[in-house]
């Protein structure tokens, strides 16, 4: 962002229609983000509560996430093709295309957790779920705040949120060790432990994709491509 300040108000300029459509697309990204956030939290709740009916609903609703992703992507491409956006507008549209792709994949992770919930429905849980819901809470919170940072072009917030991925990674490692121990001590838990490991892995991937969104926030605000993935954070 030149001079570090936001651009002039777009709603009184000569491209009001274009900028209004751009704002609408951003709102749609927030809606998609909210759908994914809820799906993630509900999938983990369904797993913890052994709510198979809810899991079926979550799995079937993934198609809505996919559909909205394609709607936003098509609208963004249409704006690029017809309105020739420049500078921060172009960066914002490019970021929207990237972000909805990440959100759609996060939706897949939530649907995957719901699917696992159904797969292991007939067995009692081999352990109470504590860290997995914590992972879901952190990842969902990261997602919500990353999208807020995207709207606000808040680089500092994006950098801080990206760092929180370390917390999710730490919990994943903890779940991994715990489940490994269970499998070693009781081979009959291997099947469910493996499924739970997939759940934790999916949540860890959600947080990774939130990092991608944080990278896009920096790009939109500054034009700088900055990697936040593990090893890239100083």
């Amino acid at each position: 962002m030149p001079n570090g300040s936001p651009p002039a108000s777009p709603m009184h300029g000569p491209r009001t229609t274009f900028h209004r459509e751009l704002e609408r697309l951003q709102d749609e990204v927030l809606v998609l983000g909210s759908m994914v956030e809820k799906a993630t939290l509900r999938a983990v709740d369904a797993l913890r509560e052994r709510d198979i009916a809810a899991a079926h609903v979550i799995e079937s609703e993934d198609v809505l996430v996919n559909r909205k992703r394609f709607e936003i992507e098509e609208a963004a491409l249409l704006l690029i093709a017809t309105q020739q956006p420049m500078a921060s507008d172009l960066r914002r549209l490019a970021a929207i295309v990237h972000i909805v792709t990440d959100l759609e994949r996060m939706g897949d992770y939530a649907a995957g957790i719901a699917h696992i919930c159904i797969q292991i429905a007939d067995e009692p849980l081999i352990k109470p779920l504590i860290d997995i819901p914590r992972m879901a809470d952190i990842a969902a919170s990261m997602l919500r705040r990353a999208l807020d940072a995207f709207i606000a072009r808040d680089v500092a917030a994006a950098e801080a949120i990206a760092h929180e991925d370390d917390d999710v990674d730490a919990l994943y490692q903890q779940v991994y060790r715990e489940l490994l121990m269970l499998m070693l001590t009781n081979p009959r838990t291997i099947d469910q432990a493996t499924h739970l490991l997939w759940v934790a892995h999916n949540l860890e991937r959600v947080a990774d994709r939130v990092q991608n969104i944080c990278e896009r926030v920096v790009f939109v605000a500054t034009g700088r491509m900055q990697e936040f993935s593990r090893g890239a954070i100083s």
Binding site: P14, Q84, M86, A87, R91, Y172, R205
Partner: protein
């Protein structure tokens, strides 16, 4: 998503230059064919005593590159480009101050002949302006005829070469020595005018809104021609069309006149940067359509 069948690894993943005194020695205006470049330094221009059009514009026009000058109407971009070949002073009462260098030599030096400047630094105008009473061939060689000293054969050789250079020869070869230039389409007429400019062998070609009167296909042809011509010429183009500037130019300069209606250079840089991440707030607001 159906969970993956295998466990993934734990964690994946413009310089503004200070004016210096101009040396008083005669300036031969020899063109360095390896790289004719221009530089405006602290250039200001007036249309009369009170009406100042541009102020302290310092801008490089690098050799064998296309430099686009963009900005809203009235920002002085056409005035600026007309100063680059001393056409601005042709207007009654108009004058310019500052320096404009071609290969380091000041074209505003008292010893420099403005007519020679305009030959070395050619200009293509907004509206195609072929001479309607002349054939295509006569249009192309009009400048050379004014100079005199060319045989018919050499005129034909030059004309054929430059008409081919602007990709017009195949379209007019059967009629170009008898057909009136007015029979050409707008795009063909503009390419003819570019050929006429090239015929006198300039080093720099200035283009003032060269496509604003053309349809999109003719515009694309001119743009393609510009990209080809930069191999042999240094080009500066004034355009209202930001997409055109972004398509064809290597460098883009943004000019703006604010409340005092005096045009100033806001920012200049590689086109790839100006249109994706400009440094100046005013550039950002203009190219994203937030004013202008």
């Amino acid at each position: 998503m159906v969970p993956s069948s295998k466990l993934a690894p734990p964690i994946s993943e413009a310089d503004v230059t200070v004016p210096t005194p101009v040396p008083p020695e005669p300036v031969p205006l020899e063109v360095n064919q390896d790289g004719p470049s221009m530089r405006a330094r602290e250039l200001s221009a007036w249309y009369n005593v009170t009406r100042k059009a541009i102020e302290h514009v310092s801008l490089e026009v690098p050799a064998h590159r296309i430099t686009a000058i963009i900005g809203p109407s009235g920002c002085g971009k056409s005035t600026f480009i007309r100063c680059l070949n001393r056409m601005h002073e042709v207007i009654r009462g108009a004058r310019a101050e500052g320096h404009v260098e071609l290969n380091g030599e000041d074209i505003y030096s008292a010893q420099v002949d403005p007519v020679r400047v305009r030959r070395v630094v050619g200009m293509v105008f907004q509206k195609p302006n072929p001479f309607p009473m002349m054939t295509i061939f006569e249009n192309v060689v009009a400048g050379l005829r004014l100079e005199g000293g060319y045989s018919r054969a050499s005129l034909e050789e030059v004309a054929e070469r430059v008409v081919a250079r602007v990709a017009l020869f195949d379209e007019v070869k059967d009629v170009w020595k008898r057909g009136a230039s007015s029979s050409l389409s707008g795009g063909q007429q503009q390419r003819l005018c570019i050929a006429r400019t090239l015929a006198v062998e300039p080093a720099v070609v200035l283009m003032d809104e060269p496509c604003s009167a053309l349809d999109p296909i003719a515009t694309y042809r001119i743009e393609e021609l510009m990209v080809q011509l930069k191999q042999d010429y240094t080009i500066a183009i004034v355009t209202h069309n930001m997409q055109q500037a972004s398509r064809v130019s290597d460098y883009t300069a943004f000019m703006l006149a604010e409340e005092d209606r005096i045009g100033r250079l806001v920012e200049c840089g590689p086109t790839s940067k100006i249109f994706t991440n400009p440094s100046e707030r005013r550039t950002e607001d203009y190219i994203t359509g937030r004013f202008g």
